[in-house]
């Protein structure tokens, strides 16, 4: 191994959020991920970097996409990967999060990837466990690897972050993807616009250095990137949005609205999509503008980069393989 391959990238032993990461940490992860994209496209995708390490996927919310992405990332780097099936576990029988943490700790994992419905759950676990914790989404707080893979996707499409205009559209209030992206894009010098009806905008959204738009047509004018968010079905039956047809009419991304963005603008979506609610199939399936499949590919690479970076810190802290 060269020294470049072991040089530290992250200053922390966990990845709990984007907030607090420096531009050089983010760029370091993106650079590393570029290498893993190449590896993933070769015939032999296997590395032995994490051989002997144990990675536990602990998903309290179902997420086929993110969980399999982490699983694949761990396996390609040679780690032993265990998917905890929360639904059939003691958690379902009423065990508290901290009891679960203590149980897991006794199994001596090296990396715990956690997805939880409550904001702050990943941080709580990181304080109680001896291993490093990767936040794979906590409540409405953060989803750091999603923001990193989004940034990687933009960068690999030749976009420079300085001055880039990114519109994030939809359910900002409940979105951890939006929060992580807002922090990341601000660190790299991009301009972020938030587009949503007021019922889906969080309080004081303007305090995050973003421009706020409630009119999607106005908000999309001249943007380089259109990032659509998923609208949870339970939020569009009258509580926060009157109906799916009204939502699509005013906030669904269709060709006509997309034409207001800068020519060549890219369309992104963290998945899974609600076709005909937040995005029209005509746009989602247009490979000229939609990079949604590339986001999935880059997701595996960015998670390999994160695992690699955290492993470097583990090694530095003297934890033996």
């Amino acid at each position: 191994m060269t020294s470049a391959a072991t040089a530290p990238i992250l200053s922390t032993s966990h990845l709990l959020g984007i907030e607090g990461l420096s531009p050089s940490e983010i760029t370091g992860l993106l650079d590393l991920a570029d290498d893993y994209v190449k590896l993933n496209r070769s015939a032999d995708k296997k590395s032995s970097l994490l051989r002997g390490r144990t990675l536990i996927n602990l998903f309290f919310e179902n997420s086929t996409r993110t969980q399999s992405s982490f699983e694949l990332a761990g396996k390609r780097l040679g780690a032993d990967v265990l998917n905890m099936a929360v639904k059939n576990s003691s958690v379902a029988k009423g065990e508290t999060l901290l009891d679960t943490a203590a149980t897991l700790n006794a199994m001596r994992p090296d990396i715990l990837v956690v997805r939880h419905q409550d904001s702050g759950a990943a941080e709580l676990l990181s304080r109680k466990l001896d291993c490093c914790v990767v936040n794979a989404g906590d409540g409405s707080h953060e989803h750091p690897t999603q923001a990193l893979l989004d940034a990687l996707t933009m960068r690999r499409r030749g976009r420079k972050f300085e001055g880039l205009i990114v519109a994030i559209c939809g359910d900002i209030a409940h979105s951890r993807v939006a929060r992580s992206n807002i922090h990341l894009l601000a660190q790299l010098g991009a301009r972020v616009r938030l587009i949503a009806p007021r019922t889906l905008l969080p309080a004081d959204a303007d305090r995050f250095g973003c421009e706020i738009f409630t009119d999607m047509r106005e908000g999309l004018k001249g943007v380089d990137i259109v990032m659509m968010l998923r609208l949870q079905l339970e939020r569009m039956t009258g509580a926060l949005v009157p109906s799916t047809r009204e939502y699509f009419h005013f906030y669904g991304l269709d060709r006509e609205k997309l034409n207001l963005a800068k020519p060549g603008a890219l369309v992104m979506h963290p998945g899974p999509m609600n076709r005909g609610v937040e995005i029209d199939s005509d746009v989602a399936d247009d490979v000229e503008v939609s990079v949604i499949q590339e986001q999935v590919e880059n997701g595996v690479a960015i998670r390999m980069a994160v695992l690699d970076a955290l492993n470097r810190n583990l090694a530095r802290e003297g934890r033996n393989v």
Partner: protein, 437 residues
């Protein structure tokens, strides 16, 4: 609703409440809009290529805009149709009726807004602007498709005479309405505190033995809604208020710069709780008639400009729902035809200028609703009323044009008679030719 012919008014007392103009002069209408206005217009010679109306010094002012009209269409056409309400409106100098969504079915779908517009175009003599429901079925639970309804032509969003009890639901609806820049109209009566109440709590209701609610049931909702407006930034209009505490809260909210306006009904300006007399059900209204002190406060509110609009709160009821013991009778009173005469009492009592009284039924509602009417300026819609502010008359319900008979003003002496009403330059009422007189 516009006429291609040219119509000239001469020798009129022109009052344009928007600008405060009050002068002798003439006015020319072309293609349904005001083409010219001036002090010497048509003074000397009669213009020959047009119809001329000699106003004989009577008041010519913008047609009235009544922001609160209930009809029975669709669903209860036996009470009132858009057509029959419009007959009453025209006779009362009202050229625009804003109709409430409290019908059967409730106006909570874009297709139903379209239905009201089409029925009005086919049957109504005056302009009809629909408000749509703020919550589906007026149930106070889930917001309506405010954006699509607005595109379909709803001018505002309201649950009519129902208060949305749940503050969280109202907050979200207001927040969503603000997204679309939509006007919301609220009714202030705490539904639990005023449950089963037919009158204002107090000595008189106690004597009559009628279940009653305190005026505070209104004021506390006014105060709550002001807080929600502050949170959401929604444009909010209190459809009608009726007591001092509500007015004080609104005055303070306006002083803080909140986008709040309010209305009062003509009957709350002219009647008090004692007028219920011996269980007179035509004076059972929502909110109930208040104490004399509160009524006087409402007049002060108009005189001081704190109350923005005067409405009729026209609510036609059939005899079978009014010929009942007081507590069992339906709420509501008709009023679109008597709106002007009743409101003019504020002027005749020397509390406000004629122009300021007219303003509450012309330019101010036009401004709140964003209409290009309610003013006597060039290119404005030629919706006009010609009336004699001084002519006295005694109200005879048989002469009213509404399909319903539940007026609170039977036998009342009024001063101020509508002579002619024009919508888009077309005469829709001429007192001289009216078969009812």
């Amino acid at each position: 609703m516009s006429s291609n012919k040219r119509l000239a008014f001469r020798n009129a007392r022109l009052i344009d409440p928007a600008s405060g103009l009050d002068m002798r002069g003439g006015l020319l209408v072309e293609n349904g809009r005001i083409a010219d206005i001036g002090p010497r217009l048509f003074n000397d010679a009669d213009p020959h290529d047009r119809e001329v109306i000699d106003c004989k010094g009577l008041v010519l002012t913008p047609g009235l805009i009544d922001m609160r009209v209930f009809t029975g269409e669709p669903g209860s056409e036996h009470r009132e149709t858009l057509g029959s309400a419009s007959e009453a409106a025209a006779a009362g100098g009202v050229t625009t009726m804003v109709v409430m969504p409290n019908t059967d079915p409730v106006i909570d779908e874009p297709s139903l807004v379209d239905f009201i517009k089409r029925r009005a175009a086919a049957t109504a003599k005056v302009r009809v602007l629909p408000m749509a429901a703020l919550t589906r079925g007026l149930a106070g639970e889930t917001m309506t498709e405010i954006g699509l309804l607005k595109e379909a032509g709803a001018v505002a969003f309201t649950d009519g005479d129902r208060t949305i009890a749940n503050a969280r639901i109202l907050r979200r609806a207001l927040s969503y309405a603000a997204t679309h820049g939509a006007l919301t109209v609220g009714h202030a009566e705490d539904p639990d505190l005023s449950a089963n109440a037919s009158m204002t709590e107090g000595e008189f209701a106690t004597r009559l033995g009628i279940p009653a609610a305190p005026a505070a049931a209104e004021a506390m909702i006014v105060e709550r809604d002001i807080r929600l407006v502050e949170l959401t930034g929604a444009r909010y209009h209190f459809g009608q208020i009726s007591c001092r505490a509500s007015l004080e809260a609104i005055v303070a909210a306006k002083a803080r710069g909140l986008p709040i306006t309010c209305g009062v009904s003509a009957h709350h300006l002219t009647l008090n709780e004692l007028d219920v007399g011996s269980y007179f059900t035509f004076r059972k209204v929502k909110p109930p008639l208040r104490s004399e002190a509160d009524r006087a406060e409402m007049v002060d509110g108009i005189a001081e400009g704190h109350i923005d609009v005067i409405v009729s709160s026209h609510d036609p009821q059939a005899a079978d729902t009014k010929r009942l013991p007081f507590a069992a009778a339906a709420f509501g009173t008709i009023g679109v035809e008597t709106l002007l005469a009743a409101a003019l009492a504020v002027f005749h009592n020397g509390r406000a200028s004629l122009s300021d009284v007219l303003k509450t039924m012309t330019s101010t509602p036009a401004q709140i609703l964003g209409l290009d009417s309610g003013t006597l300026t060039k290119n404005a819609l030629a919706d006009l009323v010609l009336f004699d502010p001084d002519e006295p008359f005694v109200l005879d319900p048989a002469q009213l044009h509404s399909r319903a008979r539940n007026t609170p003003f039977e036998g009342r002496k009024f001063q101020g008679r509508v002579k002619m009403t024009f919508v888009g330059g077309e005469c829709v009422f001429d007192h001289a030719k009216d078969r009812k007189h």
